[in-house]
Amino acid sequence: MSDDIILDIRNVTKRFPGVTALDNVSIQIRRGEIHGLCGENGAGKSTLMKILSGVYPHGDYEGTIIYDGKELNLGVGAIRQAREEGIAIVYQELTLVPNMTVGENVFLGKEPVERGSIDWNKLYADTRDILAKYRLDVSPQSVVKYLGVGKMQMVEIAKALSENAKILILDEPTSALTESEIDKLMEILENLRSHGVTCIYITHKLEEFFRITDSVTILRDGKTVATLPTRELTQEKLVSYMVGREMKERFPRGHRQPGEVIFEVTDLHAVDPNETSRKVLNGVTFNLRRGEILGIAGLMGSGRTELVTTIFGEYGKITGGSIKLEGQEIRVSDARDAMHKGISLVPEDRKGQGLVLMQSILKNISLANLDQFSGFMRIDGDAELAAATQQAKALAVKAPNLQVRVDSLSGGNQQKVVIAKWLLSNPKILIMDDPTRGIDVGAKYEIYKLMNDLAERGVSIIMISSELEEVLGMSDRIMVMHEGRSTRTLEIAEASQERIMALATGIADELVAA
């Protein structure tokens, strides 16, 4: 391996209002290597990738990036330019046109043209050559939508390579693949390496770093922790690099005594309602006590969101197991039914699922509970306003009045509106799916305090969080999920970041606990 550096990221800092996503990050990537990038959710990996791919243009961040001997200078809206420079990203979510053939997708936007019309023979011949060169086993004429996810990924890779990519960035390429597809991908990557293509490989599955990468950089809280050759690393070392930090006083501590068990999930199995052959829950067991905050930890794709939306009656088709509320077995049919039974869900995607952005704070708060204010026909507008005002005050929503449209509010205030909406039905169980995602530290603190208050008043809270610190800081107990299963429920006293990470990544618990 040469010491020829193809990409030199020097002291890059990227700030968003209220958050520093990247803090003085420096990484050197050698030509022809497969470089792993490792870190918790929110460590700054995706921000870095967005800088490299031109989503955040030059000047939008501090620091310099030397690419192939000269400074990378991507203009505004330069996603195209990044590709032309030879930096290609294969995203987790594939970006192919399903109704087109493999060849059409590979050459989309750069079709070979002969006297004004597309030269189809050349297009398919060139596609065939690229596929053959990198031993990608797909037919150029296949229609993409009939291919499996693994093959689609090959098409994505071929598309990137057809533009003479010098650096290929793979963002969690295996998250949707089966074991044999993963094996195939690893072969392809080794073949790419033998052709001198540089890869940056991002994954949550730690064992893959050891399988394929030459070196690994660990990011944490937007900072580079270390870059090490893979052979000097072990899984335990990796985990401790990922989480190794001290807990700060960022979480208000509640004083509460959780009561009796009011909610029990036993060995819950469920499948994707749109694709019943796909299992999303493979045996989840946990219980929830009155006035308790139960944290659910797990990596992206571990089935956390699928679990809570299934409980809420809005996602998975239950194929086995039971859900009991106050000792009675329940079957929740939909969101309305869940609310009647006393379950509320603050959904994961605030803008996509929680709010009607073009409407006022008032209408958003009351939307799910208009029954409370209406007779047969008429909504009592004043009662509605009174109830919403009370909620907005209790949650300290900062706005001149409740007629303000929610899309003009900050993320933290929007989240308070969503929470206000779901508290209006007086739930016994409040499920919060990543309640502090993308909001600033001050607003986070207010939401934590609110959660403590609610728990003290006897509301039971299930909180999903991608931030380990948050789970550890707020929960009474923590249930860790891995690949659709609940692994263990840890008492807060026995929980640590290392232990959760070990359970969440599927490494045996004992390895780290020892």
């Binding site: 309305r336 869900l345 699922q353 799910a368 009662a383 306003l385 001149p400 207010e446």
Partner: protein, 403 residues
Amino acid sequence: MAVSTNVNTPKPSAGLGAELGKRFRSNIQTYTIILALVAIWILFAVLTNGAFFTAQNVSNLFRQMTVTSFLAIGMVFVIVTGNIDLSVGKLAGFVSVVAAYFQANVWYQMMPDQPLIAATLSVIIGVGVGVLFGVLQGYIIAFLNVPAFIVTLGGMFVLNGLILLVTQGKTIPANQPYFSEIAQGYLPPIAGWVIAAIVVVFLFWNMFRSRQSRARHGFELPNLGLELTVTIFFSLLVVGYVYWVNQYRGVQTPVLLLAITAMIMAYVSNNTRFGRYAYAIGGNREAARLSGINIRRSIFLIFVLMGLLSGIAGIVLASYVGYGTTAAGQGYELDAIASAILGGTSTLGGVGTVFGALIGSLIMSSLTTGLQMLNVAPAWQYLVKGGVLVLAVYADVYFKKNR
């Protein structure tokens, strides 16, 4: 914590001018469209040397807008939920020929000397046909998941066929006593004044009731001067309209019918769950679903409502033209969609008002009337209307971006 809650804190009451300015800025879209209407009126008044504003012309102008306005009101709800209905013109047309058929053929043979009962039955049957067709289309759209565009496009073809079946290609007279009164009748001047008085009393009563209720809940009261100004302004509009059309032959029955329908539907859109859910579904379907809203049921009911309003429009149409013809309702769906969009309804869903659609409809009929008075050829009338529609939406896009 230094958390201040600004919700509902009383603030010093600003001057009337400032309050009006604020209100104007927050409703810029509504006011832009009203200003456009006024500009068009002034333009025509000047070009026609004032003939545009004669009592007879104003009277006709309002009557002309009624059929499309019923459709436009329903269309607001349909578009707000992110759907479209292309069949409304033909549905109104079909209802008009069905009503004409019963008037001319069935009742005449069954009870030749009972025109009042006959007319009543025709109305019931016509509206019933509209509702039934709405039920059918709504069921296919909401429960069988076929896109509304396709269902209603198919519906348009089907209705065209049904119209030909009923008429047998001939024109059916629908100008019998009582039935004609529905769209051709005038209220006696005194009745017009009584209605105007009722409306004015209602406007003031509603304003004070709403203030009382707000005060009881401990809310900050809006500036009294501002509210009075607005209420007086609307009262003057009503009184002025009645005064002016009474100079001719009085308030027309279809306009009264439209006004009542519009008020009911405006109320429904704001103050019932049905209305609120429509806006929520169009604004963010996923959030609406997770809020426990039964989306299928809402969409179904919206199309039933659209059918009902198409039924009313069809009856008014038959009564107004006095015939059921093969071309009845041709192209009305496009006028209805154009009116709703001119009035600020967003094709992306979630935004739109009944009031706006009425103004949009009034603009369309003002253009028609004005251009006809100027003897502009029909070809040019279409060119102008199309241009105005696109220009109005562009102006809206432009102002939103540069606010």
